[in-house]
């Protein structure tokens, strides 16, 4: 097969091809497919079928190998087909990783055609789901996913995207010998617009500085994005306004639009995940937030975003999350708080309701992470969380107003968390709540943090909210079991524990922020733990300010653990964990753990445990050493709340349940009941 790309890869001509990802004039021939399946029979058949479609096939029987291949060769593949059940790594996790790191279209396949599994694939961001035995007809069409994705990217990059004329194409592409627009034209008649756009873009790329059609959503960028979205309100955020708010030169409305779409998906995922897990209705106020649980890897992002703690980390996380369009953030956060990210959406909506926050604050579902927080996170199970999350959400809103970003993030987070899921949310919510608290009304600065955390959990890149510095201090760290991950925008998950912004920090921040959402601190913590790609915003971690408002201080510690647990549990269960991070699962750390994402979970858990212990007594500083370092931004509320949340969570989860590694039992938080 000759692929414009395959063969050449050089020169202008190849550029086009390269840009397109290998789309040559013979497209879809030459499409570079990576197939991953542990079943050798199946692998062989697929390879044969794909070759029959004139694709360039690379097969792999282990997920790890596949990931390495993809990492070494970032632009070496156009699409990935992966089995769901594999011995070394869960297919969904792989899906998340790919989405986050490489943003390639991933097609899942399995002999299992159960609705749940298929749904899971969708929520994790798979472009398609094939049922085995796979027929060649099904494979013939997979190129559509590649084109679709490129199209979205092109649109982002190229303002002309849709307006290019065919006529122009040929001329423009003439430079790219290989491109041969004519060929393309023939093939792409249908997708002409796209092609044109693409070609144009390519042209531009060559000529302009835009090398890649894709916009790289760095952590910072994502944070800015999230901040803008939060400011506008999740529901009201339109690309144009976001673009204006972000004020980033070179960024187009299309870029923002597609990123927003992913972000929304992420939020939804988080929310639904949480919902599922919790079974609670998100909310009296925010039902949407629930998904936290689904957030697995993404949560971190959310958290990160929220906390801005580590802009980078969050951004990364989120980006990954977003890139994935949902998927599984196998990245690390995975289980935990992916949902959170989505949950943010809810909060966002709530965002507008400052009141909600208050309410939520009162609800205090969360396990009392925030001691001081009116929301009183009760250890109750998620149900409470949800409510609290809601309140948190509100809180966030309130807080957000200050922080703007944070709260938005937080809000969703708060809502979602059904405990496991909530963690994320809680984190987020907490953050928000905390934030709100901080704010005048609630005095839970911690809430803010949580939100942030929650966001992080999502894994999606929501760095946003928190970053603003809103003191999302989601206090609910404990609750956020899920969210914890997200909190840390910096992927540093493992450090999350440490990060969980010492409550002191958070407290102080909160104070300072006055409703600022320290949530980011938490995130940073999370991130630390995460060490994975998730750049959990250390949002919550900033706890510098001893949040006075929240009693969370003690709780914060919890959060980290909570998060950790989640992370850990998530790892174990991988998908299952995410959502519910069942007891013990990290979810506790809404604030903290978020960053930690799953992989780190273990470390996080440990941290959490440590955090718990530590955090309790010391609202801030102790919590997260990491956090502090990470985010000094948000610290305030976040750290505390998160910790609290985490702690609470842990308790709730019966710490024991959490991962045995943690030995949470040390947690005094009885309320945590998740």
């Amino acid at each position: 097969m000759n692929f414009g790309r395959g063969g050449k890869g050089v020169g202008a001509g190849s550029m086009s091809a390269a840009v397109y990802g290998g789309v040559s004039d013979q497209f879809p021939a030459g499409l570079r497919v990576l197939v991953v399946d542990d079943d050798p029979t199946c692998l062989m058949i697929l390879e044969r079928m794909l070759r029959a479609c004139r694709y360039e096939v690379t097969k792999c029987n282990r997920a790890e190998i596949a990931l390495n291949l993809l990492r070494q060769n970032k632009n070496g593949f156009d699409v990935v087909i992966s089995d769901v059940h594999m011995p070394d790594m869960d297919g969904f996790k792989l899906l998340e990783h790919i989405g986050l790191e490489m943003d390639l279209p991933v097609i899942m396949m399995s002999a299992d055609d159960g609705k749940q599994v298929v749904m899971k694939g969708i929520t994790h961001g798979a472009c398609d789901y094939l049922i085995k035995p796979v027929r060649i007809e099904a494979l013939k069409n997979i190129w559509q996913h590649v084109v679709r994705k490129k199209k979205n990217e092109w649109k982002d990059l190229d303002p002309l995207g849709s307006g290019v004329e065919d006529g122009d194409r040929p001329q423009k592409v003439s430079d790219d010998a290989d491109y041969t627009s004519s060929a393309n034209e023939d093939n792409w008649k249908g997708t002409k617009k796209r092609k044109d756009g693409e070609e144009e873009v390519e042209e531009r790329d060559e000529t302009s500085t835009l090398k890649k059609p894709r916009v790289v959503w760095s952590v910072e960028l994502h944070q800015q994005f999230v901040a803008a979205v939060n400011q506008l309100g999740v529901d009201k955020a339109v690309p144009k306004k976001i673009l204006e708010l972000m004020n980033v030169p070179g960024l187009t409305r299309e870029n923002v639009a597609s990123h927003l779409q992913k972000y929304r998906l992420y939020l939804k995922r988080i929310c639904s995940a949480q919902q599922q897990q919790n079974g609670l209705n998100l909310a009296p106020q925010d039902a949407p937030y629930v998904p936290l649980s689904s957030l697995n890897g993404f949560d971190y992002q959310a958290v990160a975003a929220a906390g801005q703690l580590q802009p980078q980390s969050l951004a990364t996380l989120q980006m990954a999350g977003l890139g994935r369009s949902g998927s599984k953030s196998g990245i690390g956060i995975t289980n935990v708080d992916q949902k959170n990210l989505f949950c943010f959406e809810n909060p966002k909506s709530r965002y507008g309701d400052g009141r909600h926050q208050q309410q939520i604050a009162n609800a205090g579902n969360q396990p009392n992470f925030l001691h001081g927080i009116p929301t009183t996170m009760e250890p109750r199970q998620l149900a409470h969380f949800q409510q609290s999350s809601q309140s948190f959400g509100n809180l966030n809103i309130q807080v957000n107003t200050h922080a703007t970003n944070c709260t938005s993030l937080m809000m969703p987070m708060a809502q979602q968390q059904p405990r496991g899921a909530i963690l994320n949310e809680v984190a987020a919510g907490n953050v928000s709540r905390i934030a709100s608290q901080l704010n005048p009304s609630n005095g839970n600065a911690g809430g803010l943090v949580r939100s942030v955390v929650a966001e992080n959990c999502r894994g999606q890149v929501y760095n946003p909210v928190v970053t603003q510095g809103s003191s999302i201090a989601v206090k609910h760290p404990a609750e956020f079991s899920c969210s914890s991950f997200p909190l840390a925008s910096t992927p540093r998950i493992p450090s999350i524990m440490s990060k969980m912004p010492t409550q002191d920090d958070i407290n102080s921040r909160l104070k300072a922020a006055g409703g600022f959402v320290p949530s980011y601190d938490i995130f940073s913590e999370l991130q630390q733990h995460k060490s994975q790609d998730w750049a959990l915003p250390s949002v919550g971690l900033n706890f510098d300010g001893s949040q006075n408002t929240h009693p969370v201080q003690g709780n914060f510690d919890v959060s980290p653990s909570v998060l950790v647990n989640q992370g850990i549990s998530s790892d174990q269960k991988s998908e299952a964990n995410r959502n519910a991070s069942p007891a013990g699962s990290v979810t506790l750390l809404p604030g903290q753990a978020n960053g930690q994402t799953i992989n780190q979970r273990q470390s996080i858990n440990q941290h959490l445990i440590g955090l718990h212990v530590e955090s309790l007594p010391v609202p801030k500083v102790d919590r997260d050493q990491n956090l502090n370092s990470q985010h000094t931004l948000y610290s305030e509320q976040f750290g505390q709340d998160d910790l609290m949340a985490a702690i609470l969570k842990q308790q709730q989860f019966g710490l024991g349940a959490v991962e045995p590694e943690f030995d949470f039992d040390g947690f005094p938080m009885d309320n945590l009941r998740v």
Binding site: D38, D39, T41, C42, M44, I45, R48, M49, D83
Partner: protein, 115 residues
């Protein structure tokens, strides 16, 4: 009716460039499935039965069987999994014996096919 449409697909994939494709696939299937069957056999000897594990093995086995179009074997797999989920050890054992018989028959048929 031992092989379904999927097998036909495999045949269609065979061409002058890949003249022994079907045979290769089937050989691979034998190898992989033998290993799986052995694992299942061993697992079935443990008491009490680890249904989750068995279900996992069977899921894999079902996947490969369906890939080559082994209809009857696949049906037994499904049945086996049902029993697993129900925690019915007796049912599992019985079904597995049946499955092995079908598998043996399939192999014989395929051998004849390749002659």
């Amino acid at each position: 009716g031992y092989l379904d449409d999927q097998f036909v697909q495999l045949e269609e994939l065979q061409d002058h460039a890949n003249p022994n494709f079907v045979e290769e696939v089937v050989a691979l299937f034998y190898k992989d499935s033998s290993r799986l069957l052995l694992n299942i056999d061993q697992a079935l000897e443990k008491k009490p039965l680890e249904f989750t594990k068995l279900d996992g093995y069977m899921h894999q086995f079902k996947g490969s069987s369906s890939s080559i179009g082994a209809k009857k074997v696949k049906a037994e797999c499904t049945l086996f999994r049902d029993y697993c989920r129900a925690g019915n050890a007796e049912g599992c054992m019985r079904t597995f014996q049946q499955l092995k018989k079908e598998y043996a028959t399939l192999r014989k048929k395929l051998e004849a096919y390749f002659q």
